[in-house]
């Protein structure tokens, strides 16, 4: 066991896999050399594994997307970093037209085992283009997996599973959690499954489903509500696509009251799909309408402190929404 931040756990997972398998390579903008990424996730990897396996790319995200696919075709396990989740947008064609379809369109003759890493999320004064949750852009593209850890333990195990997977995996890292979360992380060689949601807190009164920063808020809010006599079941979605329907539906049925929390916009987020699934599978077990708590439908979150706060789902908003649902 070692005390580790969320960021350190991701780096540790990558380091272990690069040491275990020489076919693992990592690249992106500022990823190589002495800098090791704008957040420092890949710091030290170039020195440890050489400049061939950990390197800088030109500032071209489409190229990062396609380079990873090409390396996968010839037996490598490429980790391509997008410096911010917002910057995936120039690479969407490569992720959808190539990475997610290579296996299907050749019936498995050619495969693209890839990890695309991307720091996402707001609350860092990043304005419209350094704050986004872009998962909904890539959500619903069969062939592509989307995962995101919400704890240091999951961060290490999930990145290792993503690297070992024969599927292309889009791995979102919440940039507010990078240094906020710290916990004991096992030194063991463990993996966290890519297709399983995680019940992180058990309770009988309401079910809260979320991931990333808002999940952290929900866990704190659950302690507040516990003192008021309400026990919340809190579920980390973790596998954003394909969704772990079984775990999500089971958790919804358990309490009959569901709050879906995201820091994305209200309309068109992944929570909209989760809501549809619960409505289809668990309607007659529900005791209240499915409730969503999200950012407003503005184009991402603005820079000004007042506007950013207005956009973000914070602990207070989550606590209020949970209480309201518990009292319904």
């Amino acid at each position: 066991m070692a005390m580790m931040t969320y960021l350190e756990a991701i780096r540790k997972g990558i380091e272990e896999e690069m040491a275990r398998d020489e076919k693992v390579v990592i690249f992106g903008e500022d990823v190589g050399g002495v800098k090791g990424g704008v957040f420092g996730v890949t710091k030290g990897l170039a020195e440890q594994f050489g400049d061939d396996r950990c390197f800088n790319t030109p500032l071209t995200e489409g190229q990062i997307g396609g380079l990873a696919v090409g390396l996968g075709l010839v037996g490598f396990r490429a980790i391509g970093e997008f410096q911010f989740a917002d910057y995936i947008l120039p690479a969407v064609n490569q992720l959808i037209s190539e990475a997610s379809r290579m296996r299907y369109r050749t019936k498995g003759d050619w495969i693209a085992p890839i990890v695309y890493r991307a720091p996402y999320g707001g609350g860092v004064r990043g304005g419209l283009y350094h704050s986004q949750t872009t998962d909904k852009v890539l959500f619903g593209q069969p062939g592509l997996r989307i995962v995101t850890p919400s704890s240091p333990h999951d961060a290490k195990g999930l990145i290792k599973a993503a690297i070992r997977s024969d599927d292309p995996v889009l791995f979102y890292e919440h940039k507010r959690l990078y240094r906020l979360l710290k916990e004991d992380v096992s030194d063991e060689d463990y993996v966290v499954p890519l297709d399983k949601a995680n019940v992180v807190r058990e309770g009988d009164d309401i079910t809260v489903i979320g991931y990333g920063m808002v999940l952290n808020h929900a866990l704190k809010a659950a302690e507040t509500l516990s003192k008021e006599g309400f026990e919340a079941e809190v579920v980390d979605v973790r596998s954003l696509y394909p969704l772990d329907k079984e775990t999500l539906v089971k958790a919804a049925k358990k309490t009959g009251k569901v709050l879906l929390v995201t820091e994305d916009n209200l309309e068109g987020s992944i929570m909209s799909e989760i809501s549809a699934i619960i409505a289809e599978e668990a309607l007659f077990d529900l005791d209240a309408p499915i409730k969503r708590l999200a950012g407003p439908d503005s184009p991402s979150m603005p820079y000004s402190i007042a506007l950013e706060r207005e956009f973000l789902v914070d602990e207070e908003k989550v606590t209020n929404a949970m209480r309201e649902l518990a009292e319904f």
């Binding site: 190229q63 090409g70 120039p90 296996r103 299907y104 003759d109």
Partner: protein, 329 residues
């Protein structure tokens, strides 16, 4: 036209090249027929590209080199190892289609067995992929060379510039070819790019770029041979702009008489690279007209057989629609 003997290829190799060129032409003609009678839904043609493609492909070592083609590269793919039946299985959407097992439209070539990488229809997405395949050679310290192709219209996609830039930075063993037939569906080159040639883009990214006449077999073969040999020795990438003609409409869903004059279309037929090549073969003593007629008859028979065999093969069954979306657990 440069003399065939200047290629350094043997007589057998030259005749083999002719068989590839003619097979490409005749097979494409058959695919148009099958499309017209509704047995296939679509065809997109490489007629007018065949001489250049065969000369290009023969400069590589298909048993180890990788090819990331585009939709007009049927003839080059057959030099790389695919057969007429393989192509036919794809156009008919059969389960045994090596390109996609009936998943993709016709003319989206691929074959794991022959190092031909499957491609999408959003044009030129294969360019960044080719950099990954080529970077793999450097990482593995292997001497395979990668070839990727697109048309002069599709070469304006951003991903083409991104890939060429990266290839220059990493000095990849990667050959880019732009097959310039002068038309992007209906749009001429004056609306596609402003420079005199597309070849100039090579030096812009730090490697050679050369325009070659794709109707001149020897000029094309030697131009590719030089850059392929250089790339194999670690000398880095190159761009070849292969000047060819598009003798047909863009695809089976297009009618080029709408935007090409009758005179232009007639001129194209007179400047067909296949005719030049056949004249060379006779003039330079490689084949007689009678021998060519025999080869033609033999190829047509082989195409008939490939068509019959492919038609009898099963379609994918409906219950396979969800197969191979993700890896098996």
């Amino acid at each position: 036209m440069r003399k065939l003997e200047e290629s350094g290829l043997t007589k057998d190799e030259i005749i083999k090249a002719y068989r590839h060129i003619l097979l490409g032409r005749r097979l494409d003609e058959r695919l148009w027929q099958l499309t017209r009678i509704g047995k296939t839904s679509f065809n997109i043609s490489g007629q007018g590209h065949e001489v250049g493609q065969v000369a290009m492909a023969m400069a590589f070592q298909p048993e180890k080199d990788y090819f990331l083609p585009y939709y007009r590269d049927m003839t080059a793919c057959m030099v790389w190892g695919m057969t007429a039946k393989d192509i036919m299985l794809g156009s008919l959407g059969k389960e045994d289609d090596p390109s996609s097992h009936g998943r993709q439209m016709p003319n989206h070539y691929g074959s794991k067995e022959h190092n031909i990488v499957s491609h999408s229809s959003t044009v030129s997405t294969q360019f960044p992929l080719a950099t990954g395949v080529a970077y793999g050679a450097q990482l593995k310290n292997e001497d395979y060379v990668t070839l990727t192709a697109t048309g002069e219209g599709s070469a304006n996609q951003g991903e083409v510039q991104e890939a060429m830039n990266f290839a220059g930075v990493k000095k990849l063993p990667l050959i880019f070819v732009i097959e310039n037939n002068g038309y992007a569906i209906s749009v001429g080159t004056d609306e596609q790019y402003a420079n005199e040639t597309m070849a100039e883009r090579g030096p812009a990214y730090g490697f050679p770029g050369k325009r070659v006449n794709g109707n001149d077999f020897v000029e094309t073969y030697l131009a590719f041979k030089e850059v392929v040999d250089n790339a194999r020795k670690g000398g880095g990438p190159a761009l070849i702009e292969l000047m060819v003609s598009r003798l047909t409409s863009h695809s089976a869903d297009d009618d080029h008489s709408v935007y090409r004059t009758k005179e232009d279309i007639e001129n194209l037929k007179k400047n067909d690279g296949l005719l030049f090549f056949e004249k060379q073969l006779i003039d330079e003593g490689y084949l007689t007209r009678d021998e060519m007629t025999d080869i033609d008859a033999e190829l047509k028979k082989a195409i008939n057989q490939a068509t019959d065999e492919a038609e009898e093969m099963p379609e994918p069954t409906a219950d396979t629609i969800l197969d191979q979306i993700y890896a098996e657990k």
